[in-house]
Symmetry: C2
Subunit: 268 residues, 2 copies
Protein backbone atom coordinates (compact mmCIF):
# COMPACT_ATOMS: atom_id res chain seq x y z
CA UNK A 1 0.00 0.00 0.00
CA UNK A 2 1.24 3.43 -0.95
CA UNK A 3 2.28 5.77 1.87
CA UNK A 4 1.94 9.49 1.28
CA UNK A 5 5.11 11.34 2.26
CA UNK A 6 4.74 14.70 0.51
CA UNK A 7 3.08 17.95 1.53
CA UNK A 8 2.34 18.70 -2.10
CA UNK A 9 0.08 15.65 -2.46
CA UNK A 10 -3.41 16.88 -3.50
CA UNK A 11 -5.19 15.15 -0.61
CA UNK A 12 -2.74 16.48 1.96
CA UNK A 13 -3.11 19.98 0.55
CA UNK A 14 -6.90 19.76 0.69
CA UNK A 15 -6.84 18.69 4.36
CA UNK A 16 -4.43 21.50 5.26
CA UNK A 17 -6.74 24.01 3.53
CA UNK A 18 -9.80 22.56 5.33
CA UNK A 19 -8.03 23.15 8.65
CA UNK A 20 -7.07 26.69 7.76
CA UNK A 21 -9.80 28.28 5.65
CA UNK A 22 -13.51 28.68 6.25
CA UNK A 23 -14.16 29.32 2.57
CA UNK A 24 -12.65 25.94 1.65
CA UNK A 25 -14.76 24.19 4.31
CA UNK A 26 -17.85 25.92 2.92
CA UNK A 27 -17.02 25.20 -0.71
CA UNK A 28 -16.30 21.50 -0.09
CA UNK A 29 -18.88 21.06 2.72
CA UNK A 30 -16.28 18.97 4.53
CA UNK A 31 -14.60 19.17 7.93
CA UNK A 32 -11.90 17.36 9.89
CA UNK A 33 -12.19 15.42 13.17
CA UNK A 34 -9.05 14.34 15.01
CA UNK A 35 -8.26 11.65 17.52
CA UNK A 36 -9.49 8.20 18.44
CA UNK A 37 -12.64 9.21 20.29
CA UNK A 38 -14.09 11.51 17.63
CA UNK A 39 -13.22 9.16 14.76
CA UNK A 40 -14.88 6.31 16.69
CA UNK A 41 -17.96 8.44 17.32
CA UNK A 42 -18.16 9.43 13.65
CA UNK A 43 -18.07 5.73 12.68
CA UNK A 44 -20.67 4.83 15.31
CA UNK A 45 -22.95 7.67 14.17
CA UNK A 46 -22.84 6.33 10.61
CA UNK A 47 -21.38 9.56 9.23
CA UNK A 48 -19.85 9.56 5.76
CA UNK A 49 -16.07 9.98 5.68
CA UNK A 50 -14.30 11.15 2.56
CA UNK A 51 -10.84 10.12 3.84
CA UNK A 52 -9.28 8.62 6.97
CA UNK A 53 -5.62 9.55 7.50
CA UNK A 54 -3.40 7.49 9.78
CA UNK A 55 0.22 6.65 10.39
CA UNK A 56 1.64 3.16 10.98
CA UNK A 57 0.93 3.20 14.77
CA UNK A 58 -2.71 2.18 14.45
CA UNK A 59 -4.20 0.62 17.61
CA UNK A 60 -7.17 -1.79 17.62
CA UNK A 61 -9.77 0.93 18.38
CA UNK A 62 -8.51 3.15 15.56
CA UNK A 63 -8.35 0.14 13.21
CA UNK A 64 -11.93 -0.82 13.98
CA UNK A 65 -13.28 2.72 13.45
CA UNK A 66 -11.24 3.07 10.27
CA UNK A 67 -12.62 -0.20 8.88
CA UNK A 68 -16.17 0.89 9.57
CA UNK A 69 -15.68 4.28 7.86
CA UNK A 70 -13.86 2.62 4.95
CA UNK A 71 -16.66 0.06 4.52
CA UNK A 72 -19.07 2.99 4.13
CA UNK A 73 -16.95 4.44 1.32
CA UNK A 74 -14.17 6.41 3.05
CA UNK A 75 -10.67 6.16 1.64
CA UNK A 76 -8.08 4.95 4.20
CA UNK A 77 -4.75 6.66 3.56
CA UNK A 78 -1.49 5.91 5.34
CA UNK A 79 0.86 8.86 5.75
CA UNK A 80 4.14 9.48 7.57
CA UNK A 81 3.93 10.88 11.12
CA UNK A 82 5.37 14.13 9.73
CA UNK A 83 2.52 14.44 7.19
CA UNK A 84 -0.08 13.56 9.86
CA UNK A 85 1.31 16.35 12.01
CA UNK A 86 1.21 18.70 9.01
CA UNK A 87 -2.49 17.84 8.49
CA UNK A 88 -3.33 18.27 12.18
CA UNK A 89 -4.58 21.43 13.89
CA UNK A 90 -3.05 20.35 17.23
CA UNK A 91 0.51 20.30 18.52
CA UNK A 92 0.26 16.60 19.39
CA UNK A 93 -1.70 14.80 16.67
CA UNK A 94 -3.48 11.65 17.78
CA UNK A 95 -2.47 9.20 15.05
CA UNK A 96 -5.75 9.33 13.13
CA UNK A 97 -8.02 11.95 11.58
CA UNK A 98 -11.06 11.77 9.35
CA UNK A 99 -12.39 14.14 6.69
CA UNK A 100 -16.18 14.08 6.98
CA UNK A 101 -19.11 15.46 5.02
CA UNK A 102 -20.98 18.12 6.98
CA UNK A 103 -23.54 16.02 8.89
CA UNK A 104 -26.54 18.38 8.37
CA UNK A 105 -28.54 16.26 10.80
CA UNK A 106 -32.29 16.80 10.50
CA UNK A 107 -33.86 18.63 13.48
CA UNK A 108 -36.69 16.73 15.19
CA UNK A 109 -40.31 17.36 14.18
CA UNK A 110 -42.01 19.29 15.68
CA UNK A 111 -39.10 21.64 16.38
CA UNK A 112 -39.55 23.27 19.78
CA UNK A 113 -36.25 24.34 21.38
CA UNK A 114 -33.72 26.30 19.32
CA UNK A 115 -30.59 28.26 20.27
CA UNK A 116 -29.25 31.02 18.01
CA UNK A 117 -25.60 32.08 18.42
CA UNK A 118 -25.11 35.73 17.41
CA UNK A 119 -21.62 37.17 16.96
CA UNK A 120 -19.78 34.49 18.93
CA UNK A 121 -16.31 34.84 17.45
CA UNK A 122 -14.20 32.93 19.98
CA UNK A 123 -13.92 29.32 18.75
CA UNK A 124 -13.40 27.90 22.26
CA UNK A 125 -16.58 29.62 23.45
CA UNK A 126 -18.63 28.35 20.50
CA UNK A 127 -17.29 24.80 20.96
CA UNK A 128 -18.20 24.84 24.67
CA UNK A 129 -21.67 26.17 23.82
CA UNK A 130 -22.33 23.44 21.26
CA UNK A 131 -21.20 20.87 23.84
CA UNK A 132 -23.63 22.34 26.41
CA UNK A 133 -26.46 22.47 23.84
CA UNK A 134 -25.85 18.78 23.14
CA UNK A 135 -25.76 17.91 26.85
CA UNK A 136 -29.01 19.75 27.65
CA UNK A 137 -31.07 18.48 24.74
CA UNK A 138 -31.31 21.61 22.58
CA UNK A 139 -32.89 20.46 19.29
CA UNK A 140 -31.13 22.81 16.87
CA UNK A 141 -28.34 25.39 17.07
CA UNK A 142 -28.35 28.13 14.44
CA UNK A 143 -25.24 30.24 13.84
CA UNK A 144 -26.10 33.74 12.64
CA UNK A 145 -23.76 35.73 10.36
CA UNK A 146 -20.76 37.04 12.30
CA UNK A 147 -20.16 33.82 14.27
CA UNK A 148 -17.02 31.78 13.81
CA UNK A 149 -18.03 28.84 11.57
CA UNK A 150 -19.21 25.61 13.20
CA UNK A 151 -16.54 23.52 11.45
CA UNK A 152 -13.51 25.59 12.47
CA UNK A 153 -11.08 22.99 13.93
CA UNK A 154 -11.02 24.67 17.36
CA UNK A 155 -14.84 24.71 17.47
CA UNK A 156 -14.92 21.03 16.50
CA UNK A 157 -12.37 20.18 19.21
CA UNK A 158 -14.25 22.20 21.86
CA UNK A 159 -17.55 20.59 20.83
CA UNK A 160 -16.28 17.15 21.89
CA UNK A 161 -18.56 15.32 19.47
CA UNK A 162 -21.55 17.68 19.56
CA UNK A 163 -21.13 18.12 15.79
CA UNK A 164 -21.90 14.42 15.29
CA UNK A 165 -25.16 14.41 17.27
CA UNK A 166 -26.62 17.92 17.32
CA UNK A 167 -28.34 19.55 14.32
CA UNK A 168 -26.41 22.76 13.48
CA UNK A 169 -27.15 25.27 10.71
CA UNK A 170 -25.45 28.48 9.53
CA UNK A 171 -28.21 30.83 8.29
CA UNK A 172 -28.72 34.49 7.45
CA UNK A 173 -31.18 36.57 9.47
CA UNK A 174 -33.94 36.34 6.88
CA UNK A 175 -33.82 32.54 7.03
CA UNK A 176 -33.62 32.65 10.84
CA UNK A 177 -36.72 34.84 10.97
CA UNK A 178 -38.60 32.41 8.68
CA UNK A 179 -37.47 29.35 10.66
CA UNK A 180 -38.56 30.89 13.96
CA UNK A 181 -41.99 32.14 12.86
CA UNK A 182 -44.36 31.24 15.69
CA UNK A 183 -41.56 30.85 18.26
CA UNK A 184 -41.25 32.73 21.53
CA UNK A 185 -37.85 34.37 20.97
CA UNK A 186 -35.76 35.65 23.89
CA UNK A 187 -32.51 37.56 23.89
CA UNK A 188 -29.88 36.76 26.54
CA UNK A 189 -28.55 40.04 27.87
CA UNK A 190 -26.71 40.84 31.12
CA UNK A 191 -28.76 43.02 33.48
CA UNK A 192 -31.67 43.46 31.00
CA UNK A 193 -35.29 42.33 30.97
CA UNK A 194 -36.59 39.45 33.06
CA UNK A 195 -34.77 36.93 35.18
CA UNK A 196 -34.45 33.57 33.40
CA UNK A 197 -36.31 32.11 36.39
CA UNK A 198 -39.35 34.36 35.86
CA UNK A 199 -40.09 33.38 32.24
CA UNK A 200 -42.46 30.63 31.04
CA UNK A 201 -40.22 28.42 28.89
CA UNK A 202 -42.92 26.10 27.54
CA UNK A 203 -43.82 25.66 23.90
CA UNK A 204 -41.83 26.66 20.83
CA UNK A 205 -38.92 28.58 22.27
CA UNK A 206 -35.72 30.14 20.91
CA UNK A 207 -32.91 31.79 22.83
CA UNK A 208 -30.46 34.17 21.13
CA UNK A 209 -27.01 34.21 22.75
CA UNK A 210 -24.85 37.21 21.91
CA UNK A 211 -21.10 37.51 21.72
CA UNK A 212 -18.80 38.52 24.54
CA UNK A 213 -17.86 42.05 23.53
CA UNK A 214 -20.63 43.49 21.41
CA UNK A 215 -23.73 41.77 22.83
CA UNK A 216 -26.67 41.00 20.57
CA UNK A 217 -26.95 42.88 17.26
CA UNK A 218 -29.85 44.77 15.68
CA UNK A 219 -31.35 41.85 13.68
CA UNK A 220 -31.47 39.81 16.90
CA UNK A 221 -33.23 42.64 18.73
CA UNK A 222 -35.77 42.97 15.93
CA UNK A 223 -36.77 39.29 16.26
CA UNK A 224 -36.87 39.00 20.04
CA UNK A 225 -39.94 39.48 22.22
CA UNK A 226 -37.79 40.49 25.20
CA UNK A 227 -34.54 40.01 27.10
CA UNK A 228 -33.61 37.58 29.86
CA UNK A 229 -30.69 37.70 32.28
CA UNK A 230 -29.06 35.42 34.84
CA UNK A 231 -29.73 36.61 38.41
CA UNK A 232 -26.45 37.16 40.26
CA UNK A 233 -25.62 37.77 43.86
CA UNK A 234 -22.05 39.05 43.55
CA UNK A 235 -20.45 42.39 43.00
CA UNK A 236 -20.40 42.23 39.20
CA UNK A 237 -22.81 40.85 36.64
CA UNK A 238 -20.53 39.59 33.96
CA UNK A 239 -19.71 36.09 32.80
CA UNK A 240 -17.73 34.49 30.01
CA UNK A 241 -20.06 34.00 26.99
CA UNK A 242 -19.82 30.19 27.10
CA UNK A 243 -20.43 30.08 30.88
CA UNK A 244 -23.43 32.42 30.59
CA UNK A 245 -24.82 30.37 27.69
CA UNK A 246 -24.30 27.11 29.59
CA UNK A 247 -26.17 28.40 32.65
CA UNK A 248 -29.11 29.59 30.53
CA UNK A 249 -29.34 26.28 28.63
CA UNK A 250 -29.24 24.38 31.94
CA UNK A 251 -31.98 26.49 33.50
CA UNK A 252 -34.27 26.63 30.46
CA UNK A 253 -33.88 22.93 29.60
CA UNK A 254 -34.68 22.04 33.20
CA UNK A 255 -37.83 24.16 33.20
CA UNK A 256 -38.91 22.63 29.87
CA UNK A 257 -38.35 19.10 31.18
CA UNK A 258 -40.26 19.70 34.40
CA UNK A 259 -43.14 21.08 32.35
CA UNK A 260 -43.05 18.13 29.90
CA UNK A 261 -43.04 15.65 32.77
CA UNK A 262 -45.95 17.30 34.57
CA UNK A 263 -47.93 17.44 31.30
CA UNK A 264 -47.25 13.74 30.76
CA UNK A 265 -48.28 12.78 34.27
CA UNK A 266 -51.51 14.77 33.82
CA UNK A 267 -52.20 12.94 30.59
CA UNK A 268 -51.56 9.47 31.97
CA UNK B 1 10.95 62.80 32.40
CA UNK B 2 13.01 59.80 31.37
CA UNK B 3 11.47 57.41 28.85
CA UNK B 4 12.57 53.77 28.99
CA UNK B 5 13.51 52.50 25.54
CA UNK B 6 15.54 49.36 26.30
CA UNK B 7 14.53 45.74 26.87
CA UNK B 8 17.51 45.30 29.19
CA UNK B 9 16.22 47.86 31.69
CA UNK B 10 15.78 46.10 35.07
CA UNK B 11 12.14 47.08 35.46
CA UNK B 12 11.26 45.97 31.94
CA UNK B 13 13.02 42.66 32.51
CA UNK B 14 11.14 42.10 35.78
CA UNK B 15 7.77 42.71 34.10
CA UNK B 16 8.63 40.37 31.24
CA UNK B 17 9.59 37.66 33.78
CA UNK B 18 6.38 38.25 35.77
CA UNK B 19 4.39 37.64 32.58
CA UNK B 20 6.30 34.47 31.74
CA UNK B 21 7.22 32.64 34.94
CA UNK B 22 5.11 31.44 37.83
CA UNK B 23 8.14 31.15 40.10
CA UNK B 24 8.97 34.85 39.61
CA UNK B 25 5.35 35.81 40.38
CA UNK B 26 5.50 33.69 43.54
CA UNK B 27 8.89 35.00 44.62
CA UNK B 28 7.95 38.65 44.15
CA UNK B 29 4.26 38.22 45.10
CA UNK B 30 3.44 40.55 42.21
CA UNK B 31 1.27 40.30 39.10
CA UNK B 32 0.42 42.37 36.04
CA UNK B 33 -2.95 43.80 34.96
CA UNK B 34 -3.36 45.25 31.48
CA UNK B 35 -5.71 47.73 29.90
CA UNK B 36 -7.75 50.73 30.95
CA UNK B 37 -10.59 48.90 32.69
CA UNK B 38 -8.47 46.69 34.94
CA UNK B 39 -6.04 49.49 35.82
CA UNK B 40 -9.02 51.71 36.69
CA UNK B 41 -10.55 48.96 38.83
CA UNK B 42 -7.24 48.41 40.63
CA UNK B 43 -7.10 52.12 41.45
CA UNK B 44 -10.75 52.18 42.57
CA UNK B 45 -10.21 49.10 44.77
CA UNK B 46 -7.32 50.86 46.54
CA UNK B 47 -4.82 48.18 45.53
CA UNK B 48 -1.12 48.89 45.85
CA UNK B 49 0.74 49.22 42.55
CA UNK B 50 4.50 48.81 42.34
CA UNK B 51 4.72 50.34 38.84
CA UNK B 52 2.39 51.73 36.17
CA UNK B 53 3.76 51.49 32.63
CA UNK B 54 2.37 53.66 29.84
CA UNK B 55 3.29 55.11 26.48
CA UNK B 56 2.73 58.73 25.38
CA UNK B 57 -0.88 58.10 24.21
CA UNK B 58 -2.43 58.40 27.66
CA UNK B 59 -6.15 59.25 27.62
CA UNK B 60 -7.99 61.01 30.48
CA UNK B 61 -9.27 57.75 32.06
CA UNK B 62 -5.81 56.17 32.06
CA UNK B 63 -4.28 59.42 33.37
CA UNK B 64 -6.76 59.57 36.25
CA UNK B 65 -6.20 55.90 37.25
CA UNK B 66 -2.44 56.34 36.96
CA UNK B 67 -2.50 59.44 39.19
CA UNK B 68 -4.48 57.59 41.83
CA UNK B 69 -2.12 54.59 41.84
CA UNK B 70 0.92 56.91 41.82
CA UNK B 71 -0.47 58.91 44.78
CA UNK B 72 -0.63 55.62 46.72
CA UNK B 73 3.05 54.97 46.04
CA UNK B 74 3.17 53.40 42.56
CA UNK B 75 5.92 54.50 40.21
CA UNK B 76 4.64 55.87 36.87
CA UNK B 77 7.02 54.93 34.08
CA UNK B 78 6.80 56.09 30.49
CA UNK B 79 8.08 53.65 27.88
CA UNK B 80 8.09 53.48 24.09
CA UNK B 81 5.16 51.63 22.43
CA UNK B 82 7.68 48.94 21.44
CA UNK B 83 8.66 48.37 25.09
CA UNK B 84 5.02 48.39 26.19
CA UNK B 85 4.30 45.69 23.63
CA UNK B 86 7.33 43.74 24.87
CA UNK B 87 5.96 43.90 28.43
CA UNK B 88 2.44 42.88 27.38
CA UNK B 89 1.03 39.36 27.28
CA UNK B 90 -1.40 40.32 24.48
CA UNK B 91 -0.95 40.92 20.78
CA UNK B 92 -2.54 44.35 21.00
CA UNK B 93 -1.41 46.04 24.23
CA UNK B 94 -3.81 48.63 25.60
CA UNK B 95 -1.47 51.55 26.32
CA UNK B 96 -1.24 51.00 30.07
CA UNK B 97 -0.39 48.19 32.50
CA UNK B 98 0.16 48.03 36.24
CA UNK B 99 2.35 45.77 38.37
CA UNK B 100 0.37 45.06 41.54
CA UNK B 101 1.03 43.36 44.87
CA UNK B 102 -0.99 40.16 45.26
CA UNK B 103 -4.22 41.47 46.81
CA UNK B 104 -4.65 38.66 49.40
CA UNK B 105 -8.09 40.02 50.22
CA UNK B 106 -9.41 38.80 53.58
CA UNK B 107 -12.34 36.35 53.31
CA UNK B 108 -15.48 37.45 55.17
CA UNK B 109 -16.11 36.24 58.73
CA UNK B 110 -17.80 33.85 59.27
CA UNK B 111 -16.63 32.05 56.13
CA UNK B 112 -19.48 29.96 54.71
CA UNK B 113 -19.18 29.39 50.94
CA UNK B 114 -15.85 28.23 49.49
CA UNK B 115 -14.88 26.82 46.08
CA UNK B 116 -11.76 24.67 45.68
CA UNK B 117 -10.27 24.30 42.17
CA UNK B 118 -8.46 20.96 41.80
CA UNK B 119 -6.21 20.30 38.80
CA UNK B 120 -7.61 23.04 36.57
CA UNK B 121 -4.70 23.58 34.21
CA UNK B 122 -6.34 25.53 31.38
CA UNK B 123 -5.86 29.26 32.15
CA UNK B 124 -8.94 30.33 30.20
CA UNK B 125 -11.09 27.88 32.21
CA UNK B 126 -9.69 29.08 35.55
CA UNK B 127 -10.17 32.72 34.58
CA UNK B 128 -13.81 32.06 33.59
CA UNK B 129 -14.38 30.18 36.87
CA UNK B 130 -12.99 33.02 38.99
CA UNK B 131 -15.22 35.43 37.07
CA UNK B 132 -18.26 33.21 37.79
CA UNK B 133 -17.28 32.83 41.47
CA UNK B 134 -17.11 36.62 41.71
CA UNK B 135 -20.48 37.06 39.96
CA UNK B 136 -22.28 34.53 42.18
CA UNK B 137 -20.91 35.72 45.53
CA UNK B 138 -18.53 32.87 46.39
CA UNK B 139 -16.60 34.06 49.46
CA UNK B 140 -13.23 32.41 48.83
CA UNK B 141 -11.65 30.44 45.98
CA UNK B 142 -8.82 28.08 46.93
CA UNK B 143 -6.48 26.72 44.25
CA UNK B 144 -5.14 23.28 45.15
CA UNK B 145 -1.72 22.07 43.99
CA UNK B 146 -1.78 21.17 40.30
CA UNK B 147 -3.86 24.18 39.21
CA UNK B 148 -2.45 26.85 36.94
CA UNK B 149 -1.55 29.78 39.23
CA UNK B 150 -4.13 32.49 39.84
CA UNK B 151 -1.82 35.26 38.61
CA UNK B 152 -0.92 33.72 35.24
CA UNK B 153 -1.61 36.56 32.73
CA UNK B 154 -4.25 34.53 30.84
CA UNK B 155 -6.04 33.73 34.11
CA UNK B 156 -5.97 37.40 35.09
CA UNK B 157 -7.34 38.40 31.67
CA UNK B 158 -10.11 35.75 31.81
CA UNK B 159 -11.00 36.80 35.37
CA UNK B 160 -12.07 40.26 34.16
CA UNK B 161 -11.33 41.89 37.51
CA UNK B 162 -12.28 38.98 39.79
CA UNK B 163 -8.73 39.09 41.18
CA UNK B 164 -9.36 42.59 42.52
CA UNK B 165 -12.56 41.72 44.41
CA UNK B 166 -12.57 38.00 45.26
CA UNK B 167 -10.39 36.43 48.00
CA UNK B 168 -8.17 33.81 46.32
CA UNK B 169 -5.60 31.56 47.99
CA UNK B 170 -3.18 28.91 46.69
CA UNK B 171 -2.88 26.23 49.41
CA UNK B 172 -1.66 22.65 49.84
CA UNK B 173 -4.13 19.90 50.77
CA UNK B 174 -3.16 19.90 54.45
CA UNK B 175 -3.97 23.60 54.70
CA UNK B 176 -7.18 23.08 52.70
CA UNK B 177 -8.26 20.33 55.12
CA UNK B 178 -7.58 22.60 58.11
CA UNK B 179 -9.40 25.55 56.53
CA UNK B 180 -12.47 23.45 55.72
CA UNK B 181 -12.82 21.68 59.09
CA UNK B 182 -16.52 21.75 59.91
CA UNK B 183 -17.57 22.38 56.30
CA UNK B 184 -19.90 20.20 54.23
CA UNK B 185 -17.56 19.36 51.35
CA UNK B 186 -18.91 18.17 47.98
CA UNK B 187 -17.08 16.95 44.93
CA UNK B 188 -18.37 17.93 41.47
CA UNK B 189 -18.26 14.87 39.29
CA UNK B 190 -20.11 14.05 36.05
CA UNK B 191 -22.67 11.25 36.45
CA UNK B 192 -21.72 10.54 40.13
CA UNK B 193 -23.54 10.97 43.43
CA UNK B 194 -26.54 13.24 43.91
CA UNK B 195 -28.07 15.80 41.59
CA UNK B 196 -27.02 19.34 42.57
CA UNK B 197 -30.75 20.05 42.91
CA UNK B 198 -31.19 17.33 45.56
CA UNK B 199 -28.59 18.57 48.05
CA UNK B 200 -29.15 20.91 51.01
CA UNK B 201 -26.70 23.75 50.33
CA UNK B 202 -27.21 25.64 53.60
CA UNK B 203 -24.52 26.34 56.16
CA UNK B 204 -20.76 26.10 55.80
CA UNK B 205 -20.32 24.63 52.33
CA UNK B 206 -17.38 23.90 50.04
CA UNK B 207 -17.47 22.62 46.47
CA UNK B 208 -14.42 20.99 44.87
CA UNK B 209 -14.26 21.44 41.08
CA UNK B 210 -11.96 19.05 39.24
CA UNK B 211 -10.07 19.56 36.01
CA UNK B 212 -11.29 18.65 32.56
CA UNK B 213 -9.27 15.54 31.80
CA UNK B 214 -8.39 13.84 35.07
CA UNK B 215 -11.36 14.75 37.28
CA UNK B 216 -10.88 15.17 41.02
CA UNK B 217 -7.75 13.68 42.61
CA UNK B 218 -7.31 11.45 45.67
CA UNK B 219 -6.82 14.23 48.29
CA UNK B 220 -10.08 15.81 47.10
CA UNK B 221 -11.91 12.49 47.42
CA UNK B 222 -10.56 11.99 50.93
CA UNK B 223 -12.01 15.34 52.07
CA UNK B 224 -15.40 15.16 50.39
CA UNK B 225 -18.59 13.81 51.97
CA UNK B 226 -20.01 12.92 48.56
CA UNK B 227 -20.30 13.81 44.88
CA UNK B 228 -22.76 16.02 43.03
CA UNK B 229 -23.55 16.20 39.33
CA UNK B 230 -25.49 18.43 36.96
CA UNK B 231 -28.66 16.72 35.69
CA UNK B 232 -28.68 16.61 31.88
CA UNK B 233 -31.34 15.74 29.39
CA UNK B 234 -29.24 15.24 26.26
CA UNK B 235 -27.35 12.39 24.72
CA UNK B 236 -24.04 13.00 26.52
CA UNK B 237 -23.18 14.14 30.01
CA UNK B 238 -20.05 16.14 29.47
CA UNK B 239 -19.37 19.84 29.72
CA UNK B 240 -16.36 22.13 29.50
CA UNK B 241 -14.88 22.51 33.02
CA UNK B 242 -15.61 26.25 33.22
CA UNK B 243 -19.19 25.80 31.97
CA UNK B 244 -19.85 22.96 34.45
CA UNK B 245 -18.34 25.03 37.28
CA UNK B 246 -20.40 28.07 36.30
CA UNK B 247 -23.66 26.08 36.32
CA UNK B 248 -22.90 24.60 39.75
CA UNK B 249 -21.99 28.00 41.24
CA UNK B 250 -25.21 29.47 39.79
CA UNK B 251 -27.39 26.69 41.18
CA UNK B 252 -25.75 26.47 44.62
CA UNK B 253 -25.55 30.24 45.13
CA UNK B 254 -29.21 30.54 44.19
CA UNK B 255 -30.22 27.86 46.68
CA UNK B 256 -28.12 29.52 49.40
CA UNK B 257 -29.69 32.94 48.70
CA UNK B 258 -33.24 31.58 48.75
CA UNK B 259 -32.46 29.94 52.07
CA UNK B 260 -30.88 33.12 53.50
CA UNK B 261 -33.86 35.18 52.39
CA UNK B 262 -36.41 32.81 53.88
CA UNK B 263 -34.47 32.68 57.16
CA UNK B 264 -34.40 36.48 57.25
CA UNK B 265 -38.10 36.80 56.56
CA UNK B 266 -38.82 34.29 59.33
CA UNK B 267 -36.71 36.34 61.72
CA UNK B 268 -38.27 39.69 60.87
Amino acid sequence: MEIITSRTNDKVRLIRLLQEQRKIRERERLFVVEGTRLVEEAAAAGLKARMILHDDHLGPRERSALNRLAAAGGEAIEVTPEILKYCSDTETPAGVLAVLDWPELPPPEPLEWVVVADGITNPGNLGSLLRAADAFGVQLVVLAPGCVDAFNPKVVRGGMGAHLRLPIRMLDWRAIGALLAGFQIWLAEAREGKSVEAVDWDGRTALILGGEAAGPGEPARALAAGSVHIPMSGKIESLNAAVAGGILLYEISRKRNVSTKSTKSTES
